[in-house]
Symmetry: C2
Subunit: 580 residues, 2 copies
């Protein structure tokens, strides 16, 4: 009775201590502490707690109590299927063995304990979670005399249950945290994608993020080449980034071809067994593909609004992940993650395509139209492009923001667009212009502004303020320019920039009324006009940009040769600002 | 001793049953079952398990054991601060009371139990998690005789601990699931945003998703109006959607103005106390704002690649959530979620702005340029626009995809762009053209193609195939068109569509050589040419589109009046295809 009493109190004490222990939350020495409690509660002499590793089918020792050479024993591991431990893990319930040295169920943990302890009895208790073994606890040398109705198994079982409970909690928490971390990483990656519409940068980001997220050796993106109907490898990230670039796979071939053709995801954990595997890439890159996860890049149907309407859903390519680093193959979680990433990547790549298409349309059509206007007079060929280049160089030199530089680029390109309303016979005229003709010619800045206004172009951000490039590029600080004779601050910064660029190009280009002068001569002239007709800061910005090689004249661009004839045409006014 | 023995075994049994109970996972009757075990283990007569609700400071009964009228008692609730339970929750440890009826610490649960039981003793055990009370357990009428060293408190404490552990696990799991669900919802919303660049649709989606995600009465988006420097309310979702639209807040005013000016997030759980609150909106809408969560819409720096470069970071507006439905105010989790959503929303709104800006630039510049070319000859004013409209109508009627219709729209608008290379004197000539002039005029389809080619426009998807609109719109099925005399299938679908649109406009417009004919006459002529010069399917598509009001002639558009003079010009060939 006294023994019972004592044991009960010890047990209650052990359980209370276990409660205190777990109440403090996850701790490193939980296994040590729980094992100590188990040995204390069962009044045993020693104990070993080991965890079951399913993949390697081994037991790995986590905690040791009461064994002199316990330290050496920690992290030892051995077969989980044999002997006493093996039987206990299979049964899912405890076993008591007297004199295990002679028992056929002797296991390696008992054997190791016997090295520093005379083992008389052992009680082995599995740690079970939802019918699956997580590990087991061996306690050695329970109090004599052994009894058939001994309480130790029940005590040990209760404490083990408490421990398993704690392990489950930690596992749930860890799993939840892992999932949340991955979700958060995915969210961050996806948010990050929308900060670029630059295709190469975009592809690179997608692939390097995917590499990290999936922890694979390499990832790649294959995009459909609509011109040739095959797939082109655009980016391969991971360790092999440099090895495999600019590869092509004919349409429909390879696993990637299949995925792009069908829109299905394919995961192959041993590519050598898949007849679809297209071996040419490995052959030429030296990369050894073992496992492939291949998902389609399916761009969704995108509402673009306005006249463009809907861009329809299309499969624009596929994304591949190769060789997981710490696993033999891809698991469902990897697949779901890669699909989500690929779906979003496809949407953003498609947005980038749509943007770049319409952006190229706008700039090329502007180039085309201003180029055509310049061509009306063979002496102004390439003029709009050069004035735009020079204006951009000045704007950048003045430290304008990227948004502002873009506005200067577009507006300056259009500075002479009003000439589309000046009759050809005046534009092309070689002889001296009459007063009336000259007046018509000088209307082109106002024509340009009307051109913008009538076509709703002034409402666009790009021209809302920078329309002055068209309207004011012939205005002069001293008020002697046209069409309005504005003075000083009345002329906008953009107007001043384009005026300097325009005059510089007029001086350095061949014109009917004068041969091209050198850039140095032009700069000397600009400087003589600085503060009088032209803005000094803009002139000096052009000079600095020129020093950096950013301002190249008609002659330096080799655009002079194209002029077939060079006849001189007398002008009414020799002001350098008149041309352009 | 016998009592002890029995009690120990009962207790071990109870603990084992508790283990079995929790091993089966979360279950509805966990509280019932655990309370039964507690009553069984402590050999008590009855028990009540109640949970603590922090917000209302009450205890809510979850399980009742051993009380005849237990059913009525379940879900009862009462003050958590008074009496025995109040003391136990404050202390965090159990209290034993003999004859609670006479004890000043009597509480409402004891009182309720006394209604169906003669209560002699009560043991009240708190359910503590990390120092915080989750609830408590009352067990009534423990076995006599009471002893100072009674074990019941220890037993009850251990079982409670087990229950708390289980509750913590369920809570962790529920919290993890809730977070994952919200993350997943956010991810889905964010993925969904990139499927539209249509601003209004985008704003609507953002706001309705935010309303759901945050569970608030209303959400709204305020965008900066760069023209007027104030904030315009664009969308208000939620129940009040119709009530508040098209409101303006002057820059810097109101909480939203503060947020947009500073880029800071502001959460105000009682707006009446915030002097920044701009009351005009509520006053005019009738909506009663209690709590506001206001986050900036900060569009990130976006790499656009190519000539456009970088679009800089800018605060484009702010988003507001008003009045959480089930809480008195906003919690940190809401704030983080709304910020993430707003950040991504801002990025996509900005992409939409950038896209729509450059898209408008491209279409308006094309309109401007084709309009200017049409204007060279006053008789072709508006011609390119009408041909484009008619071509789009035919293409849609033929069931072409949205992508194809867009290509037809752009290419048909440009069909006469080659005329920019035809001298004005020919375009504007009223008298009969000479053979040489006529030959020059007939070069415009080839000029158009060269115009595209030389400026890289053929590389763009929009013109990669549809260039035939320019090159082939004067080709005829019978091979008698120009410039190449292509026949039948040699002429592309786009070429045939634009040919029909072009001829229809030529017939129904006033031209120097003939007055405008009615649409019916034009259709009769088109039908007479169908299958010979013009594609029958395209002609019939135009007829059907006309029946739906989609094809309006120059006269019907009121564009005729603008013609100042109407002189007739004799033509060389009366084929209707010659014009335009």
């Amino acid at each position: 009775m006294f023994i019972r009493e004592t044991r009960f109190q010890r047990f209650v004490q052990a359980m209370q201590r276990a409660d205190q222990l777990v109440a403090t939350g996850a701790r490193d020495d939980l296994f040590e502490q729980m094992l100590d409690l188990m040995v204390f509660a069962t009044e045993a002499e020693a104990g070993v707690l080991s965890l079951y590793d399913k993949d390697s089918q081994t037991l790995v020792v986590q905690a040791v109590a009461g064994l002199p050479r316990g330290k050496d024993f920690r992290s030892a591991h051995g077969d989980a299927n044999q002997g006493l431990a093996g039987a206990v893990l299979r049964r899912g319930t405890a076993l008591f063995v007297a004199d295990p040295g002679r028992d056929p169920r002797q296991d390696w943990i008992c054997g190791a304990a016997a090295a520093s302890l005379h083992v008389r009895t052992v009680l082995c208790q599995p740690l079970m979670s939802h019918g699956q073994p997580l590990g087991c606890v061996h306690v050695f040398n329970l109090p004599d005399p052994p009894a058939d109705d001994r309480d130790e198994p029940a005590l040990l079982s209760l404490l083990s249950s408490r421990l398993v409970n704690e392990m489950e909690k930690a596992q749930i928490l860890a799993e939840a945290e892992r999932r949340e971390r991955r979700q958060r990483a995915l969210l961050e990656i996806i948010s990050n994608l929308t900060t670029t519409l630059d295709r190469d940068e975009l592809l690179y980001r997608i692939m390097s993020h995917a590499c990290e997220l999936l922890n694979v050796e390499a990832t790649s993106i294959w995009l459909r080449d609509p011109a040739q109907d095959d797939l082109v490898l655009h980016i391969a990230a991971g360790s092999s980034r440099k090895r495999i670039v600019a590869q092509r796979v004919p349409a429909g071939q390879g696993i990637i071809g299949h995925v792009v053709a069908t829109g299905e995801t394919v995961a192959v954990n041993d590519v050598r067994r898949d007849p679809r595997f297209y071996q040419h890439i490995d052959a030429s890159s030296g990369f050894v593909t073992r496992s492939i996860l291949c998902v389609p890049l399916k761009a969704p149907r995108i509402q673009l609004g306005d006249v463009r309407g809907i861009a329809e859903e299309r499969i624009i390519g596929g994304a591949q992940a190769l060789n997981p680093r710490h696993r033999s193959g891809f698991v469902p979680d990897d697949i779901a993650l890669f699909q989500t990433l690929a779906g979003q990547a496809a949407a953003v790549i498609r947005l980038a395509q749509l943007y770049s298409e319409v952006s190229a349309l706008s700039t090329r059509i502007i180039d085309a139209i201003t180029g055509a206007i310049d061509l009306k007079d063979p002496y102004t060929r390439g003029h709009s492009q050069r004035v735009s280049d020079f204006s951009v160089a000045i704007a950048q030199e003045l430290g304008l923001s990227s948004d502002e530089v873009y506005r200067v680029r577009i507006a300056s390109k259009l500075h002479d667009v009003g000439k589309i309303r000046v009759p050809d016979r005046i534009l092309k005229k070689r002889r001296q212009l009459t007063d009336a003709e000259f007046a018509q010619m000088r209307q082109h800045p106002e024509h340009g502004l009307e051109f913008l206004k009538e076509n709703g172009l002034l409402e666009l951000e790009v021209l809302r303020e920078s329309w002055t490039a068209l309207a004011q590029h012939h205005e002069r600080l001293d008020g002697r320019g046209y069409p309005k004779g504005l003075r000083g601050d009345q002329i906008s910064l953009v107007g001043r920039i384009v005026a300097v660029a325009d005059v510089f190009d007029a001086i350095t280009s061949h014109r009917p009324y004068q041969p091209a002068r050198s850039a140095d001569e032009a700069i000397a002239i600009l400087r003589s006009l600085a503060g009088v007709e032209l803005d000094s800061a803009c002139v000096e910005a052009l000079v600095r940009a020129r020093a950096q090689g950013l301002v190249r004249t008609q002659e330096e661009r080799g655009e002079r040769d194209r002029l077939s004839k060079r006849r001189r045409r007398p002008t009414r006014r020799r002001s350098v600002g008149m041309a352009g």
